[in-house]
C-alpha cells in the first residue's frame, strides 16, 4: 500500500514536471524520423519495413533509454535528501525499502508509458502509410518495446544505487554520466579491441558470452538483433545469431538481474544511510 502511494506520487510529479511529456515526445520524434528516413537506404521493396525500424530503433534505444533512465533516477535519493523532503517522508510510517520500490515502480511506469507511446507511434505511422505488417514483425516489435522497458528499469536501478551511495547530487550526476559512457559506448569498443588483439587465442566463446552478459546494453542488443530470425538478417548479426548460445531466456534473465541486483544493493545502501 505504501509502495503504491509513493509510486502514484512519483508519477504525478513526473507528469507535473513534464518528464513524461518530454520523454514521450523525444522517443516518438526519433522513432518517427527513423521510420521514414531510415527506410531510405533499404528502399521500400521486398523488405518488411517494421523489421528495419526495429533494427534502427533498438540501436537508438541503447543510447537514449539508459540516458533518460539515469536522468530521472540519479537524483531520486540524494536529491530528496539535499532538498530536505526525505527527512519528512522518513518520519512517516513507511520503511525505506518501500520508498525505494515505490519510486522504482513510479519511474518504471513513466518509462513504460513513454516507450510504448513513443515507439507505438512509429508502428501506427507505418500502418497508416500502408506498409504491410505481419505478425512475426509485430511480435519482434513488442519484444523490442518490452526489452527496452527492462533496459530502462536496469538503468533506473543503477541510478538509484549511485544515488544511495554518494553525498551530493553533483557527484551522482557525474558518476551516472561516466557509467553511461562506459556501458553504452566504451565497453563495446574495448571488447572489440580486445577480441581483435586476442584473435581467438585465449578468449573462448564462454568468456565472450559472459562478457556480453556483463553489460545490460549488450544483453539488450542481442535480444533484439539476434533473437528474431528475420530481424537478424537486416541487423547483419545473422552469423552471430547462429553461433551464440545465449538464448532469449538467458538474455532476459541477465537484464532482469541487472535490474534486481542494483535495486537490492540500493535498498541496502539506503537503509544504512544516515540523514
Amino acid at each position: 500500500m505504501n509502495i503504491l502511494i509513493i509510486a502514484a506520487k512519483e508519477i504525478h510529479q513526473a507528469i507535473r514536471n513534464r518528464w513524461v511529456l518530454a520523454a514521450t515526445l523525444l522517443l516518438a520524434g526519433l522513432a518517427l524520423s527513423l521510420t521514414f528516413l531510415g527506410s531510405a537506404p533499404t528502399g521500400n521493396l521486398g523488405v518488411r519495413a517494421l523489421d528495419v525500424v526495429i533494427v534502427s530503433l533498438s540501436s537508438l534505444t541503447i543510447f537514449l533509454v539508459p540516458l533518460i533512465a539515469l536522468l530521472i533516477s540519479h537524483d531520486a535519493i540524494v536529491g530528496e535528501m539535499e532538498r530536505g523532503t526525505m527527512l519528512l517522508l522518513l518520519s512517516y510510517p513507511v520503511a525505506r525499502w518501500q520508498v525505494l520500490i515505490g519510486k522504482f515502480l513510479g519511474h518504471l511506469a513513466v518509462l513504460t508509458f513513454a516507450t510504448c507511446l513513443g515507439y507505438g507511434v512509429a508502428v501506427g505511422a507505418l500502418a497508416a502509410t500502408g506498409s504491410p505488417i505481419d505478425a512475426d514483425s509485430l511480435l519482434a516489435f513488442a519484444a523490442m518495446v518490452g526489452s527496452s522497458v527492462l533496459l530502462g528499469g536496469a538503468f533506473v536501478a543503477i541510478g538509484y544505487l549511485v544515488s544511495a551511495l554518494v553525498r551530493d547530487r553533483g557527484t551522482a550526476a557525474g558518476i551516472c554520466i561516466g557509467l553511461w559512457l562506459l556501458l553504452v559506448l566504451i565497453y563495446d569498443m574495448a571488447l572489440l579491441g580486445v577480441l581483435a588483439l586476442d584473435q581467438g587465442r585465449s578468449i573462448s566463446a564462454a568468456v565472450l558470452n559472459a562478457l556480453l552478459l556483463a553489460n545490460p546494453t549488450d544483453a539488450y542488443r542481442l535480444i533484439n538483433l539476434t533473437g528474431f530470425a528475420n530481424v537478424s538478417t537486416f541487423a547483419g548479426m545473422a552469423g552471430l545469431a547462429q553461433t551464440t548460445s545465449l538464448t532469449i531466456p538467458v538474455l532476459l534473465t541477465a537484464l532482469l538481474g541487472w535490474m534486481l541486483l542494483p535495486l537490492g544493493l540500493a535498498a541496502l545502501a539506503f537503509s544504512r544511510r544516515e540523514l
Binding site: 502511494i5 507535473r16 519528512l88 518520519s91 510510517p93 513507511v94
Partner: protein, 306 residues
Amino acid sequence: MTSTVRVSDVTKTYGRVEAVRGASFALGQGELVALIGHNGAGKTTLMKLMLGLIRPTSGAIEVLGDNPAAGEFAGRRQLGYLPENVSFDPALTGRETQAFYARLKREPVAKALELLDAVGLGAASRRRVSTYSKGMRQRLGLAQALLGAPRVLLLDEPTTGLDPELRQTFYDTITRLAAGGATVLLSSHALTELEERAGRVIIMNRGVKVADGSIDELRRLARLPTRIRLKVGGLAPSEMPPWAPQDTTCRRLNGHIVEIDAAPERKIELLHRATAAGNAVEDVDVVPPTLDELYAHFLRQSEQAP
C-alpha cells in the same frame, strides 16, 4: 504517567564530534516539553534519533514502543514531526502534498485537508508549493505534523516564520493536544514564548543535558535572584530607603524606583520591610528570573564545570 519517549544514555558521534553525549530522559503523556540550547547543542540530533533517521552510537531509544534505530515504525502513525527548514516537493500543490501525507498515515484525506484551513493556508493550498513563502511552507509543515491524532509531536523550531496571530493559534493547538494526552517536544529560540507554556524545560549544551525540570524547579536550582521593583515616593534621586537590606544588591533605576535582587526565600521578608517602613510604596513589581536568564545561568554553569 506513562512515558511515550524514552532516551537512555544516548551518545551520537559524527567522526570526532560528539553531537549528543550521554543524554537520558523520558517524556510522559500530556507533557509539553521545551528543548532549548544553542545551534549545534544537539536538539535536532535528538529528534532525528527519535525518528530513526540516524542511529545512536551507544545507548537506547524507545518511541511509542518502537526502537527507531532498528527501523521499527509502527508507532509513527501516531507521531507528528516538523523538521527545521521544512521543505516539500515544489511541483505539487499544498493540497496534494497534504493528501499524500494523509494517505501514508491512513488518515481520511478530507479531514486532512481541513487542517490546511486550520493553519490558515486556505486559498493558497491550491497553488504549487514552489510559489509559497517561508511562512506558508511552515504552515503546511504544521498541518502535516498535526495529521491524525498524534500521541507524540516533535517540533523543531516550529514558530519561525509564523506571524504573531498564527503563533498564538499554534500554541493553543499544541496546548490542547498536550491536555488531551499527547507528548509535545518542541525546540525553539523564542524562550519568552515558551516560558508561559512549557510544563518542562530541557536545556542542552554541546550535546550534554545540563538542566531538566519545570520552570519553577529550574528557578529553585538556579537560585537566581528575583527582582523586586518598588516605586517609592519622597526619596532623593540617589538616596537608598532606610529599610533597604545591606546584604543584597539594591539599585536606583530612574527617578523613584528601587530595585532589589532578592534571593528566592527572602522575597516576602523584603516586601514586609518595605511596606512597614514610613516611605510610601506606590507600586510594586516582582519579576522572577526569566527563562532567558535561567538558560544563560545553566549554560554558564555547565561551561564552568570541568
